[in-house]
Symmetry: C2
Subunit: 125 residues, 2 copies
DNA sequence: CAGCAGCATCGATCCGCCTGCATATCAGCA
DNA sequence: TGCTGATATGCAGGCGGATCGATGCTGCTG
């Protein structure tokens, strides 16, 4: 799987219609599914939660392996997937790599799932 | 995978905290991930979209195989997963099985993903 | 400049799942 | 009752992914 990457960005821009009025395009479905796949994992959901609730809203790998009970390589793997999906951003300070939530990434996904009544009235299309 | 079933119902009731303040529990993470897994598939996203945009908001299997380009057993399989996840409801009328979206199921998921500031102010917990 | 610590990557294994074909069920109809 | 059509289920192939141990890389630090 590689189409995930800027997947979120690609979706928010062209304003795709997930569960909106008209049937979703196959390409859009694959992009949305790609991002949802990144979310659809217990370990990754907990990672997002842990990072979000961390002191400065950020956390390094070494802080996350213990709470999850997973090996460091595995945690690093999950963080990579979340980052490529556009949900996390990585900042390396010294030896540590700090991860934090991308501001409104998850909210964007929530919006995409939310029925049209609350979203922009899709006019021209 | 079997824990998905009334997964959505179980989640909405106890009011789990997905990406809210405190770190999510492993059990909650697994339930949420279960429902998200049901969503994280191009074919199933298109199914939801097709059903939602159908004439009466409902559709039978025979109406869905062609647009998806998948075999009837496969479509039936996906519909089963979506139904077990609590996203679809099935009604059999005669020989046909009509599927329709569960009213606010997807909106519930969107709410669970949306940060706490917009959700119910988690009081007692 | 060694030595060390934090992370990422690689290779391998194991498991889950998407898909289709074949088949079983079930309702309506002659 | 026997046949036909719409769905559901069983079975199996094949691929993607979750996980870990080993290893490579890169900044600190003494």
């Amino acid at each position: 799987m590689d189409y995930v990457g800027t997947a979120l960005a690609e979706m928010t821009m062209p304003q795709i219609s997930p569960l909106a009025g008209e049937p979703i395009e196959r390409a859009d479905a694959e992009r949305l599914a790609g991002v949802l796949k990144a979310l659809a994992d217990p370990a990754r959901l907990r990672l997002l939660s842990l990072i979000q609730s961390a002191p400065e809203g950020e956390a390094c790998v070494c802080d996350l392996t213990a709470p999850l009970g997973l090996s460091q390589p595995t945690v690093s793997h999950h963080l990579r997937i979340l980052t490529e999906a556009g949900l996390l951003e990585r900042e390396k300070r010294g030896v540590w790599a700090y991860y934090r939530l991308v501001p409104s990434a998850i909210a964007t996904i929530a919006d995409l799932l939310t029925p049209p009544r609350k979203r922009a009235t899709k006019k021209a299309r």
